[in-house]
């Protein structure tokens, strides 16, 4: 895999950097430069808190190439507290404990490793929320 393809996503993978629409105020992740709601230009960066809840989830038993060693693993739609849904793996959790509405928080984990000598790709996953609300 090409390094640049992953490098240019570092801000998103490590810090959930998306965008906010200056016209209607909607927060966007992934960033897309044109607002999903009002089609205005939306290039102002916004860093998401990484807090949210499980909106839907699945357990993958038939993995694609590159993910064989992780299977079975859970992929979820997480509804971020700012609004958008994000597709990400769930981690540090017993499969049986996951349910819709469960509070989760973003962590950085290994997404995949391409072979023995290959590069390791890190990025966001979500785990049950442990951050205390003060």
């Amino acid at each position: 895999m090409e390094v640049s393809r992953h490098w240019r996503l570092n801000q998103q993978r490590y810090a959930l950097v998306g965008e906010v629409c200056p016209n209607c105020g909607v927060k966007l992740f992934p960033p897309r430069d044109v607002c999903l709601e009002c089609e205005a230009p939306a290039k102002e960066l916004y860093t998401f808190t990484g807090l949210g809840e499980v909106y839907s989830y699945t357990t993958i038993y038939d993995p694609p190439a590159g993910f064989e060693h992780n299977a079975p693993y859970m992929v979820a739609l997480v509804k971020l507290e700012e609004g958008p849904l994000v597709t990400a793996q769930l981690t540090d959790v017993d499969f049986n404990d996951v349910q819709i509405g469960m509070p989760v928080e973003m962590v950085t984990r290994k997404l995949r490793a391409d072979g023995e000598q290959g590069m390791i790709i890190y990025g966001y996953k979500f785990r049950p929320a442990v951050t205390a609300v003060i």
């Binding site: 839907s56 699945t58 993958i60 993995p63 190439a65 064989e68 958008p84």
Partner: protein, 384 residues
């Protein structure tokens, strides 16, 4: 619309260990030419999704034109994930309707079984967002599972509430000699099937297979003089939705399925009540349920009830998957949209054999790409 189908061809859907991509395409083309008694083709549209990844072969327009004895013809590939076949027909319809192309050949072809294991889900996942879905290990089955889990949650359903779709598909495939799975499926077996992406199981998702299907189309006034029973393309519409599920405004509403169906109804001057047979995109049962809702056959959250109540069977209110659908006929991705067209054309011609829906005059085919990011809807009717 002034476009009619004059020839139909298809191969079996199965593992064709003895046939390459080009041979599969040719078998379907040859059958369509035989059916039309005509082989003067001006343009070729090839629907394909995976040849570049699974067969190291792109440039299928030239490959197919060359191999089918049509050197020199205008020819190209149309790609829209598993809606490639329907999208290819749409392009051919535009060309013939415009008058720029007199006779067009549309062939959907997919060769999938030369590869196996994790290569296949990885290839199919290219229908999703590479950076924000597939990079996280998401698969097509996984995306369908996210839809299905949420749909079950909102409507208070269990897995067995979806069994009717697969049971119907298998029952219909028993009458289709081209189908991949011609065995009866019991509802108990559906609920007990091994999971691929929970709650999506092996009996919930359509199997991959090799296959090709083809149609030849020309202007309707010509068609009437060429064949005994041309089939009119009464409507053709392609629309798109967000590529990823996470960007949908309403997760459980297939916007493109709805908008392409609405345009098609308007073009044909019909309503859902006029549709005698509906080949929908049942790559997963949840997509069948959501397509029935989006196309106006059921209220939101109630598409699954049509399967429970037997309304989708051959004698029901809206027969679907009448030759087995993607689930039991098999799903050769980029060819699937053309299988749907061939099947609906056979239905409205009254030549569907044991799969015939009695008195079918108007049929609809809807081909979805990925989780409905592309939706292509065609309405066919018998040309009087």
């Amino acid at each position: 619309m002034n476009v009619s189908i004059i020839g139909l061809g298809q191969t079996d859907v199965r593992e064709h260990w003895d046939a390459s991509l080009r041979h599969l395409a040719w078998y379907a083309i040859e059958a369509a030419m035989d059916d039309a008694h005509y082989n003067q083709i001006d343009a070729i549209y090839v629907g394909n999704m995976l040849a570049g990844q699974l067969s190291n072969q792109n440039h299928l327009g030239a490959l197919v034109a060359d191999f089918a004895g049509l050197r020199g013809a205008e020819a190209l590939t149309v790609e829209a994930a598993d809606a490639s076949g329907g999208a290819a027909l749409r392009q051919a319809v535009l060309a013939v309707q415009s008058g720029m192309v007199e006779t067009a050949l549309v062939v959907g072809v997919e060769k999938m079984t030369d590869e196996s294991g994790s290569v296949i889900p990885a290839a199919l996942a290219t229908a999703l967002d590479a950076d924000y879905e597939a990079a996280h290990g998401q698969t097509l089955s996984g995306a369908a599972a996210l839809l299905m889990r949420r749909y079950m949650h909102e409507n208070g359903l269990s897995l067995s509430d979806f069994a009717g779709f697969s049971v119907n598909a298998h029952a219909n495939a028993m009458a289709n000699p081209r189908a991949m799975f011609r065995n009866k499926l019991r509802p108990e077996a559906f609920a007990a099937a091994p999971m691929t992406a929970e709650p999506v199981s092996l009996f919930d998702e359509a199997p991959v297979g090799d296959g090709a299907a083809a149609v030849i189309i020309t202007a309707s006034d010509r068609a009437a003089d060429m064949v005994a029973r041309p089939v009119r393309i009464a409507a053709s519409a392609l629309t798109t939705d967000t590529l990823s599920l996470h960007d949908r405004r309403e997760l459980l509403w297939l916007n493109a399925a709805e908008s392409s169906a609405r345009r098609a109804y308007e073009q044909a001057g019909v309503s859902p009540a006029d549709i005698d047979v509906f080949e929908l995109h049942d790559s997963f049962t949840i997509l069948a349920a959501l397509a029935l809702e989006a196309c106006g056959f059921a209220e939101r959250g109630q598409g699954w009830q049509l399967a429970r109540d037997g309304e989708i069977g051959r004698g029901g209110r809206i027969p679907v998957s009448t030759f087995g659908g993607l689930k039991a006929r098999g799903n050769p991705s980029g060819a699937t949209g053309l299988y749907q067209i061939v099947e609906v054309a056979q239905q409205v011609r009254g030549m569907a054999g044991d799969c015939q829906v009695a008195g079918a005059r108007i049929g609809m085919a809807q081909n979805l790409g990925g989780m409905g990011a592309t939706a292509v809807t065609h309405i066919l009717r018998s040309d009087e």
